[in-house]
């Protein structure tokens, strides 16, 4: 129990990456066309954070994992059908708008309230995990704000690795410029770790873990607190798709030598 962590993973849903996204204007600000109908997935970097959290908890007996998610209740329920079998966690849902144009300050405020409501939280053991950026807003700000509001002043972003030492201190690798990592040694929890991809593959589905999770997920969803997440005063002048459709030249049946020559000429141009 020396390093029994309380790992809180903040992560929500984003539109499935394979979907075509189209912005529309609504009275509540910009949104996605048919947003509620779009298939959703767990935010990829938050997913890595969840898998790393589960792995860390496994290596440190006595540790617990919570997944705190903001989103429409029905979509969160759908999301849990795929996520619940991946890792053991206690689900803390917050009902609210998880769209990319919504305010990270409002979002952070809702998450802080939800985290502070977790019974038996010991800040000296807390590791706050999440994706370093989302695939929706992509600002890398929510986790930072949540951490600061909770009084956690050791924050790491773009994390690919955490290695815990026996004394409770840990080293962290963060992505920095120049295709390398910055290595830091932190005295111990509490800390914020915004994950990049980490090093773990996506876990295979485990039906037993899913059954165990679902027992707490459904009651938690029924009791999900509503949060007001809005634009925070931001005035959007325009939201548009990039006009970058190219007129692709498809080259078939060209001899390899000729293709190679053309590529080299292009590179050298």
């Amino acid at each position: 129990m020396a390093n029994a962590y309380q790992i809180i993973v903040c992560g929500s849903l984003v539109p499935d990456p394979l979907q075509t996204l189209e912005p529309i204007s609504t009275p509540g600000g910009p949104a996605l066309k048919n947003e509620l109908m779009l298939p959703a997935a767990l935010d990829p970097w938050a997913g890595h954070a969840l898998f790393e959290a589960a792995n860390l908890a496994k290596q440190n007996p006595g540790s617990q994992v919570w997944l705190v998610s903001l989103g429409p209740k029905a979509k969160l329920q759908q999301l849990m059908m795929s996520v619940a079998q991946k890792a053991a966690f206690t689900f803390v849902p917050v009902e609210g708008n998880a769209g990319g144009f919504m305010s990270s300050v409002d979002c952070a405020s809702a998450l802080v309230k939800a985290i502070q409501g977790i019974a038996g939280l010991d800040m000296g053991r807390v590791l706050l995990f999440g994706g370093w950026e989302s695939a929706s807003r992509g600002a890398g700000s929510t986790l930072q704000l949540v951490g600061d509001a909770l009084g956690i002043h050791d924050q790491f972003m773009g994390v690919d690795e955490i290695k815990v030492r026996e004394d409770g201190s840990f080293t962290v690798l963060e992505r920095v410029e120049g295709a390398c990592h910055q290595e830091s040694l932190c005295a111990g929890a509490p800390a914020v770790l915004g994950w990049a991809t980490g090093n773990l593959p996506e876990p295979t589905n485990n039906p037993q873990v899913g059954m165990m999770n679902m027992r707490s997920i459904m009651p938690a969803l029924q009791k999900a607190v509503k949060a007001e997440v809005g634009l925070d005063g931001v005035e959007y002048v325009s939201v548009s798709l990039p006009k970058q459709l190219r007129d692709t030249r498809i080259v078939k049946d060209m001899p390899t030598d000729e293709i190679a020559r053309e590529i080299v000429e292009w590179i050298k141009k």
Binding site: P15, P17, G138, D232, V239, S240
Partner: protein, 340 residues
């Protein structure tokens, strides 16, 4: 009346970013008809401040010392907070390095303001500051303004051509920031580079070469040729001085026990969960060109792809030229020509 502050770091990684930030700050100040200032954090800031001596900045502030030499949230944040309080600026431009992005949202919040990151342009229209940034991982772009001040903006690198400013000795107003022990719980140990000798990521290269999972799949003879793939790719990177990118599926293979390219790491990954590099040209090989991957190509200007499938994602308007061919053969020949 707005007051603009360029907040940056005086470290090796930041000199180009500072010049870009100063260019944006000078242009915005000229549009708004207001002054702008510079604030720097680092072990020593005077030299970096001098490089912006001829930039037109009205005043320079600094926080320096050993505690501020390295990127660390718990020391960078109080330093930045002290500088902003001293400057009383309303619009703060922060070159978007990993160091800057790590603190700027909390910084704005502590001062009652707001922050926006990955800003690709800042303009002024009728006295109003407007910012542009991408949403949904480079899939749509928005222009917006916000009422809160201070407004801290993290500037996405590579969006402006940095002006060359004449250097001159400037007077820096140094602020003293004492860190409590609680702010020293983290010690930066240094930088770690990926294992192996091959330098595969070159952010300043003209060409991005992207390898997809096809390189490690069974080829026409029913066999996997991972070692040949490695040789062809490394040869090409060396000869063309290109930077190597990869699809998620290829880098994930190392964790899933499949055939792998030994030099490939998650740092190479381009796309939805990878990087969005800025290169003038990009050559994709053995990858399908589906949307999650191609969002990472948003800022690659000229694009070509080699794929055996004429109906792959690249064919749907995502590349300028799609060569329907075997990348093993093509790259072998390309390497021969480059060697000649």
């Amino acid at each position: 009346m707005e007051k603009i502050l360029l907040l940056g770091f005086a470290d090796q990684a930041s000199s180009k970013l500072l010049a870009e930030g100063a260019t944006v700050a000078a242009n915005l100040a000229a549009s708004l008809g207001c002054s702008w200032e510079v604030a720097l954090i680092g072990e020593k800031v005077q030299e970096a401040a001098n490089t912006l001596g001829g930039s037109g900045a009205a005043k320079f502030y600094g926080v320096e010392g050993e505690d501020f030499a390295f990127a660390r949230y718990s020391s960078d944040l109080p330093a930045a907070e002290a500088l902003l309080k001293e400057s009383q600026a309303t619009v703060i431009l922060v070159p978007g390095s990993s160091r800057g992005n790590r603190v700027l949202s909390a910084l704005a919040m502590r001062l009652g303001g707001r922050a926006d990151t990955h800003i690709t342009s800042v303009t002024a229209k009728e006295g109003k500051v407007l910012a542009n940034r991408w949403f949904y991982r480079q899939r749509m772009e928005a222009c917006f303004s916000r009422p809160q001040r201070p407004w801290v903006m993290g500037l996405e690198p590579g969006n402006v051509a940095p002006q060359t400013f004449s250097a001159s000795s400037v007077q820096v107003q140094m602020l003293s920031v004492a860190l409590p022990d609680a702010a020293k719980r983290t010690k930066v140990l240094g930088l770690k580079y990926p294992a192996g000798t091959a330098q595969t990521i070159r952010p300043d290269a003209k060409l991005l070469f992207v390898a997809g999972a096809g390189w490690t799949k069974k080829q026409a003879d029913g066999q996997i040729h991972a070692s040949e793939a490695e040789k062809a790719i490394l040869d090409f990177l060396s000869k063309a001085q290109a930077s190597l990118g990869s699809t998620k599926s290829l880098v994930d293979q190392s964790g899933e026990g499949n055939a792998v390219l030994s030099f490939m790491t998650h740092l190479n990954q381009v796309g939805q969960t990878g990087s969005t590099p800025r290169h003038s040209k990009g050559l994709a090989t053995c990858c399908h060109g589906e949307e999650p991957h191609v969002v990472g190509w948003r800022f690659v200007t000229e694009r070509r792809a080699v794929n055996t499938d004429a109906n792959c994602g690249w064919a749907r308007g995502k590349t300028d030229v799609l060569y329907v061919a075997d990348a093993f053969e093509v790259m072998k020949k390309v390497n021969e020509i480059l060697s000649a």
